[in-house]
């Protein structure tokens, strides 16, 4: 009777964890239950076929276990020629004891919903099972919280793995400032900000750290070269993603009963012709201009003049847009 795949994977994990030194492919094929040993006295043709089918099966098993987080190491041994061997270090593979409460496990389920249907959905679901092994059993905890699916592209998953593997990536990217083009980067870190995903890395062509918005990546992210190809610096520059410091102050006039967000952020600066004046700190002029425009006459910029002009320019341009 053929051995079920989950059983074979379990035997492979046990075998690679318990070996003193390493197991070669031949040893794996011949001693781990679930793989077919080479038939004794087989013809060359039969041997070749059996070897090919083992190779395919073992490569797939190895890939799936690595995706699961099992660190399968490649061990080369000069004494035994060029043959490659494999092993798992149990201490590195084990889940740390987290001792979760039933309520904490309930939060894990809520958090995994955040990725449902997205590329990390399957990974998130598996965390519930993995963490359940380390959680107390208790009555089901109902929490009045929920998370709803976020959009994450396949590119996001690939970049997360590339960061973990220290592997260079290449992708097509369109940016506001420099148009579309191919970028080659050493990814350092994935950053989430208000539901939007970014990757920070070292841009090989520009020879400087850069931040990329993952949504602007077109097509596939391809890995380039070997794993472990670079080191990730200890302090990663968050740049514009960090909570930006307010650098300038604008005076804004707000119509009574409107501009509540501006009122909350600003400092009152008197009244003028029935409009309330506020001094509002801002980091990016563009976003303050956008905010005032969106209020549709509920606010205007008193100074600086550059921002007031930008408001007029945008509104004037809007009157000239074609419509269908």
């Amino acid at each position: 009777m053929p051995v079920e795949k989950s059983q074979r994977l379990l035997n492979l994990v046990i075998g690679l964890s318990s070996t003193r030194h390493r197991l070669t492919r031949d040893q794996i094929r011949d001693t781990i239950e679930g793989y077919e040993p080479l038939p004794y006295g087989a013809s060359d043709e039969e041997r070749r076929k059996a070897e090919q089918s083992f190779e395919r099966m073992f490569e797939r098993d190895k890939k799936e276990l690595r995706e699961l987080g099992v660190p399968i190491e490649t061990v080369e041994d000069p004494v035994h020629g060029d043959e490659i061997g494999y092993r798992i270090r149990p201490a590195e593979a084990a889940m740390p004891a987290l001792d979760l409460t039933a309520a904490e496990l309930a939060v894990v389920s809520i958090a995994t919903d955040y990725w449902r249907g997205a590329v990390l959905g399957g990974d998130a679901q598996r965390t519930v099972m993995k963490l359940a092994s380390s959680a107390e059993h208790g009555p089901r905890v109902e929490l009045p919280f929920a998370a709803l699916p976020s959009v994450a592209s396949e590119a996001f998953g690939t970049l997360v793995e590339a960061v973990a593997d220290r592997q260079t990536v290449r992708f097509e990217y369109s940016s506001v400032s420099s148009g579309a083009g191919t970028r080659t980067i050493d990814p350092w870190r994935v950053v989430l900000r208000a539901g939007i995903a970014y990757v920070i890395g070292f841009d090989r062509d520009r020879e400087a750290p850069r931040t990329f918005r993952i949504q602007r990546i077109g097509g596939k992210v391809r890995t380039v070269g070997d794993t472990g190809a670079y080191a990730i610096p200890k302090d990663i520059p968050l740049g514009a993603l960090a909570e930006s410091e307010d650098v300038s102050t604008a005076r804004v006039a707000v119509r009574p009963e409107s501009g509540h967000a501006l009122r909350r952020r600003g400092t009152p600066a008197g009244v003028e012709d029935g409009w309330d004046l506020y001094d509002v700190a801002y980091a990016h002029g563009d976003s303050l201009v956008a905010e005032v425009l969106a209020l549709a006459g509920g606010a205007r910029i008193v100074e600086p003049k550059t921002l007031a002009d930008a408001v007029v320019r945008a509104a004037t341009a809007a009157l000239e847009v074609e419509h269908g």
Binding site: S6, L9, L10, I14, S17, S18, T19, T31, E33, L65, L68, V70, P90, E92, A94, M95, L98, A103, E104, V108, A111, Y114, W115, R126, M129, S134, L143, F145, A146, P149, S150, V151, V160, V163, V176, V190, V191, L192, R193, A194, G195, R216, L238, E257, S258, G259, H260, D286, L293, A296, G297, R300, V312, R313, A315, L319, V321, E322, H323, G324
Partner: protein, 302 residues
Amino acid sequence: MAEHATDRLVRMLGILTYVERHGDTPFSELAEHFGVTVAQVQADINALWVASEPGDSWSPIDFSSEAYDEDVASLVRNDGVTQVRLSPREAVALVGALSTMGAAGALPEAGAQLLAKLRDALAEPVTVVGDDQVGAEVREPLVSAIDRYRRVEVEYVDAMDRRSTRIVDPHRLVVIDGHAYLECFCRRAQDYRVLRLDRIASATVLDGAIEHAPTDSAGFSLTPAFRATVRVGRAGRYAVEDMPGVAIEDADDDVVATFDVVDAAWAAGRLLSVAPQLRSVEPKRLADALRRQATAVLDVQR
């Protein structure tokens, strides 16, 4: 058998680790804890039992057969087999979602403890930057009211900058795409509503109990009124890429975005900021709203 082999492997290792940590465990408890049938628990234990080391000479895992006959998992021997750690993708998925809920202001207390435990155990796998400013003075009364089934009075500033005071039956805090919302029944509208947490200026717990229970069907939904198509220069792409249900295609030096519009005035307000890059706006309803807003702006800003 639709189950993926790796999912079953993870559960088998989970059952093994759980029994090792908690001692003898009835099959029924394992079934409940791991969300499967008792028959599946038995099958998983049988599979662990027959697991073998290379050469088939030694079984690293042994259960008591007497206990098994009484539907209890009792571990006699486990030679170092254990649940595997989180993969990089799993760690990012979990820590990312929890931190996003935290940054949005809707992470339950148990979630903060969980996050602290995970951060101790894993190297920080992802950076999450907070953006929404939801103060404890808003979040805490809401959570307390939800827990105690009390009504709350909220002061709310909507996306169109209209300020209102409403009495609501609060149900749940929901995080979607990085922002937190309150699902509730609004007495004034006599309907279920979703209020964005960072637009709630204040919240006061009232004495009265809630009268409208949460419903599964009336949860989070924003019904789009129509779909719009906008052509904008690449430099203005940022203004459309967060629109609901957006699809963006490159077209020479421009992009063409189609997206859902719930409120034409709100969408027009967003488009105004990139008006110099706008090439065309459809349908007429949205173009008219854009024109109206622009005129209103020019009336006050000269």
